[in-house]
């Protein structure tokens, strides 16, 4: 199906690497591959989770971003203090669009930014006192909070503040969880270690002492769905419709109680494996709760996942799954009938975070599109093992791609659509290539579930077939061969 042969893909990789000094070239070559979908283990062909090279433009984030931004931040009834200078929290505030219900500033705090706003004197004399005072103030101003987490930024680790002691004392006084998270940005090579540290903090502070309870026979939890644009909501309705009882959903629109309710479930449903596998493994070992990775992007994968989930339960749930699939089938057919003719054969390149580089492939394929290149910011070996099977042979796979490499790949492959983040968006749009942000859904969403697929299809069509692209060339340069764009309502 792919338009490039293995030789061509490999030649492209070599050509792009040509400009690097010998050392960097050798290092970067390990992170790029032409896919071979017969591989069991991707680690033979691609290296991941390594430090980015100095001098190249990496697209990664930091451990603090992984903990505060991804795992802890969306727990809505807790206050998450960005401990350190003001910038880390303020510039990332509310950027991930984790939707939630509640009254912000009263009983929920998702989009607010709490920071200890470190100044020079705090660095010199230490900030523990300031933190203690801040926790006190937070408690006075927002008494309905259910707990507090202290998310360390870089300087905290550097000056050696003892946030554990402050948190422990405060937790006793307030009789609420106060969780110190050692997620200083410099730890690890990307946001990935931040996820791990955050999961460990959940284990040590939220699940500590929580015993296994007997729950209902159909109790499940949804873990690692961050409810971006409402994703978790359009997922859980499907589970509920098939007869399951979703007792916990976090961290998107999640609460402290839901985290603590997890040990009663029969099955943990894991959406983002990369960021939440740690806590799922822990619960499997401690409470004997199995976990299952699922994919709710596009009707093909949704049906596969619903059946896989149902297989863990009895006939009633299995029938429920079939009923849900059958109910939405005509709706999905209508979406495909409408958009497939407009999108068929279009080529997509992706570069995203934890799971989407592989999970959305099925949704594009449902629309007749083809993913010709994909890559992760912070994946590990196991993510690539899962990816090589999803991608076509000889397609391009890039790990921690640099700004330069990504641009060069795009110039050569000339995809019809790119799905990546805000930092990449305008570069590619200025090159005249349609683009969708695949982290934040470009202020749209949800994209999960059946309802999400309809929105996904519309958005991809809107990006690719926008009449804007016919205006990329000045009229006097366009001449006769100017491509006529399809009008959206054609």
């Amino acid at each position: 199906m792919t338009t490039m042969t293995r030789e061509e893909t490999e030649a492209l990789i070599n050509e792009v690497l040509e400009v690097y000094p010998a050392d960097s070239k050798e290092e970067r070559a390990k992170h790029l591959m032409a896919n071979d979908s017969s591989l069991e283990k991707a680690s033979k062909c691609i290296t991941s989770n390594r430090k980015s090279l100095p001098g190249v433009m990496t697209i990664r984030g930091c451990a603090y971003a992984g903990s505060k931004g991804v795992v802890w931040g969306p727990i809505k009834d807790m206050i998450h203090i960005s401990h350190g200078p003001v910038g880390c929290g303020q510039y990332s505030r509310a950027g991930r669009r984790n939707y939630y219900v509640g009254t912000t500033g009263v009983d929920t705090f998702g989009t607010m930014n709490f920071t200890s706003d470190f100044q020079e004197k705090d660095i010199v004399f230490g900030g523990d006192k300031k933190l203690a005072k801040l926790i006190e103030e937070v408690e006075t101003l927002f008494p309905l909070n259910k707990g507090i987490s202290v998310q360390s930024e870089c300087p905290i680790g550097l000056i050696g503040d003892d946030i554990e002691a402050v948190s422990k004392k405060a937790a006793k006084e307030l009789n609420k969880p106060v969780v110190p998270v050692r997620c200083e940005g410099f730890r690890g090579v990307s946001q990935s270690l931040g996820h791990h540290i955050a999961n460990d903090a959940i284990r040590d502070h939220m699940l500590e002492g929580v015993e296994k309870k007997e729950g209902g026979p159909y109790d499940v939890s949804v873990i690692g769905d961050y409810n971006i644009g409402g994703d978790a909501w359009s997922s859980r309705i499907l589970l509920e419709e098939m007869g399951l009882n979703v007792v916990a959903q976090w961290s998107g629109d999640g609460t402290v109680e839901e985290m603590k309710a997890c040990p009663q479930v029969k099955l943990n449903l894991l959406h983002c494996y990369r960021s939440m596998n740690y806590i799922s493994r822990f619960m499997e070992e401690k409470y004997g709760i199995p976990w299952l990775e699922y994919n709710f992007f596009g009707p093909t994968k949704i049906a596969e996942s619903l059946r896989a989930i149902a297989a863990h339960f009895d006939d009633k749930i299995m029938e429920g799954a079939e009923r849900v699939i059958a109910k939405y089938q005509p709706l999905m057919q209508a979406v495909v009938d409408k958009y497939k003719p407009r999108l068929e054969g279009k080529k997509v390149m992706l570069y995203v975070g934890g799971l989407r580089p592989r999970h959305v492939i099925g949704a594009y394929e449902d629309l007749g599109m083809e993913v010709v290149g994909t890559g992760y910011e912070f994946a590990h070996n196991d993510d690539y093992d899962r990816t090589v099977k999803e991608m076509g042979n000889a397609t391009l796979i890039y790990d921690d791609v640099t700004g330069y490499e990504f641009e060069e790949f795009v110039k050569k492959i000339k995809p019809d659509l790119i799905g990546s983040g805000i930092k990449e968006k305008y570069i590619f749009q200025k090159m005249g290539i349609p683009f969708r942000q695949m982290h934040s859904w470009d202020y749209s969403g949800p994209y999960h579930g059946y309802d999400g697929f309809a929105i996904f299809a519309r958005d991809m069509d809107m990006a690719i077939n926008s009449p804007t692209w016919s205006g990329m060339k000045a009229p006097w340069l366009a001449g006769a061969e100017a491509p006529a764009a399809k009008a959206v309502n054609e």
Binding site: K41, S192, Y278, R281, E284, E285, H380
Partner: protein, 69 residues
């Protein structure tokens, strides 16, 4: 001697997970795998070798010590 978590995967294989290193590999062969004696030399699919002190088969998943060979 890293702590590793061994778990059964859906396809019936054993996975070998080193939390400290965030490394997940599949176990290729294990020297002993009976109910009374379990462990010994473990070969992973990436070729690396570990040694687990033989013990009665534990309930999976479990976290144990393994020695890198």
């Amino acid at each position: 001697m890293p702590s590793v978590m061994i778990r059964q995967t859906a396809d019936g294989k054993l996975s070998f997970y080193v939390a400290k290193k965030d490394l997940e590999e599949t176990i290729d062969t294990m020297e002993f795998s009976t109910a009374e004696k379990w462990g010994g030399e473990v070969k992973l699919t990436d070729g690396s070798l570990f040694y687990i002190d033989p013990m009665p088969a534990p309930k999976l998943p479990t976290t144990i010590r393994a020695k890198k060979m």
